[in-house]
Symmetry: C2
């Protein structure tokens, strides 16, 4: 158990953006809101999976919607609390701890803010170990727990409870339609589950992992060192390319930010070509037309100068990026998991998942 500091939250912003693989929303606003909670005297208590009581009731919390919407559509700030309280009223009992549905991007901050406001703990683990665009794409759902009952809240105070859905896909479909009707973003509290299940199904230690990653980048920045080899070493990843964005297609489809970018190699990678497909998150990197990294492994884009992660909503023509491949957690590479978060789940039917290997 540890209490997170302001420095940890600054680091979490950076690490969560890297693990977000371009999605999960920009954590900047969430960071400011989390820091505000700390400055208001609230505390963020992080507990490891080992410290979690078997009988504790844990729910996931996260923002839903295309990242690009959340830049201009501000939250009220209490959506998570409203949704937790509505779910508690429905269940007739208190929720003891919150976990991030996804550690990637803004959704890393959501449990911090809501747990601080409610005075409950945050679990050191999440349902993705990265970010994914759909709600059934959590290890909690993959390994058999239902996302419903779940509550969605918007900044006005609208509260919709999904009492029962006949499948995880139906929950995603109905919650997505509700989110689009709410204006493109909402906050969801889902999957109330016992601690003993969280211990088995969560991707473990991902809050600490993101914070450590952020501290490493910040230390490199202070020492004017290149963070990229350090990130690769810490995460067991590969620095695959430095490139310039020479083509960018991006549009909103059903609440998702989808598209493709083309890259032309620069510096040591001059003369090489790459392309990246995304749906909120980066899904697939091809080099010279050959698949190099695909979901569920992580395709990470960093600004080649600052080493900070680039999200799909701020991609622009001419941007110079470093492309990294990071291996996902083994919980995402099982046959059950690949059915839900492998290439075919993203309509990439001609791609077979091959675990990332060092070059």
């Amino acid at each position: 158990m540890r209490y997170l500091t302001e420095a940890d939250i600054e680091a979490l912003e950076i690490g969560a953006a890297i693990l977000g693989t371009g999605g999960g929303g920009n954590p900047y606003i969430g960071k400011l809101r989390t820091l505000q909670e700390l400055r208001n005297g609230r505390s963020i208590r992080l507990i490891s999976l080992d410290e979690l009581n078997d009988d504790a009731l844990v729910a996931t919390v996260g923002g839903i919607g295309a990242p690009i919407v959340s830049i201009e559509k501000l939250e009220h700030g209490a959506e998570g609390v409203w949704a937790v309280q509505a779910l508690e009223a429905h269940l007739g009992r208190k929720i003891d701890a919150l976990a991030a549905a996804e550690i990637g991007g803004a959704n890393s901050m959501m449990p911090m803010i809501t747990a601080a406001q409610l005075g409950i703990s945050v679990v050191d683990g999440d349902g993705m170990g990265r970010a994914f665009p759909e709600m059934q794409m959590t290890t909690f759902s993959i390994y058999g727990h239902r996302s419903v009952p779940a509550v969605l809240a918007d900044e006005r105070g609208n509260l919709v409870l999904f009492k029962h859905t006949t499948s995880e896909e139906w929950f995603e479909k109905l919650a997505r339609a509700t989110t689009v009707a709410m204006g493109g973003s909402s906050v969801g509290v889902e999957a109330p589950m016992p601690g003993r299940y969280v211990k088995r199904a969560a991707v473990p230690g991902t809050v600490s992992q993101a914070i450590a990653l952020g501290h490493l980048v910040l230390a490199a920045n202070r020492q004017h060192a290149d963070p990229i080899p350090l990130i690769c070493k810490q995460e067991g990843g590969v620095h695959l390319m430095d490139g310039k964005i020479v083509d960018l297609k991006r549009h909103l489809r059903g609440g998702f930010s989808v598209g493709e970018i083309a890259l032309e190699g620069i510096q040591a990678f001059s003369g090489q070509r790459g392309s990246i497909v995304f749906q909120n998150e980066f899904l697939l990197l091809k080099q010279e037309g050959v698949v190099r990294v695909s979901v569920p492994d992580l395709v990470v884009l960093l600004d080649v100068d600052s080493g900070r992660a680039i999200t799909t909503d701020v991609l622009r023509y001419g941007q110079r990026v470093a492309v990294l491949g990071l291996p996902c957690h083994p919980l995402l590479r099982t046959p059950e998991a690949l059915k839900v978060v492998g290439p075919a789940a993203f309509q990439l039917h001609d791609v077979e998942f091959k675990p990332l290997r060092a070059a």
Copy 2:
């Protein structure tokens, strides 16, 4: 208090279709399902507003979605029961009686079926006295009661509870999006309210009214008499035109069946021209370019030969129709009501509502 007979349900089909003004869904399938409940030994107990206990808890029930969808997308049959039970679980108490949200069309049958299955009463009154396309367009909502908490069910068993919405329009928007995601139709149970409010806000006696209207048409059919003057006399309405449909525009927009028809007068109305705008229901009749009837008054189309109501989903080129104008209930003509169900609420901004008068 009376128990409805099979003959009453046959009559209700005809009368509810007339009051449906083209919308509310075709009551034919609902009638078959209601008759089946009676043949299975269940009973339908109709109580007047006077007989309703002040402290009874009453909810409305109705199908949501474009009528054209419900022809091919069959219901499971227990949606209403599932939704009532989910709402009861949320409220922590039993619902004592059901009312139609709208008496027009298929939604007249929904409380009959669900109340028979649950063994509770149906209230003789509804929220529209006709049919309207949106859920906030009930007298219950207009006179101050909220539609939420409400539950939507689909034929798979998906159950979505609208716990709180910041306005009636937000409920409509969120429930509509959910319905579209459910495939275009759903069953909703809404607005749990005390008997004393229902007595004040319901359009009174509309189940009996629809049944009486149906018996009148059936009796005229048996006697080879023209039902149209009889309907006009009983409802205080006007026979405005007989015409042939010479143009028909119809499309689905956001779950609604919207469009316009052009009519060329036939028989006694030869040489006249008319046009009718619809959004699930017929909203507006113009004759020679002049507004003759507009919402909330009823524009009713009957087959010129059979005298049966024509719904917007079966309109076709060349059809020969009788057009009637029927006055709506005074509860729909107050300034509060006209804000919600007057021409401007249907984007007919250049139309000022003038109560229908006999020619």
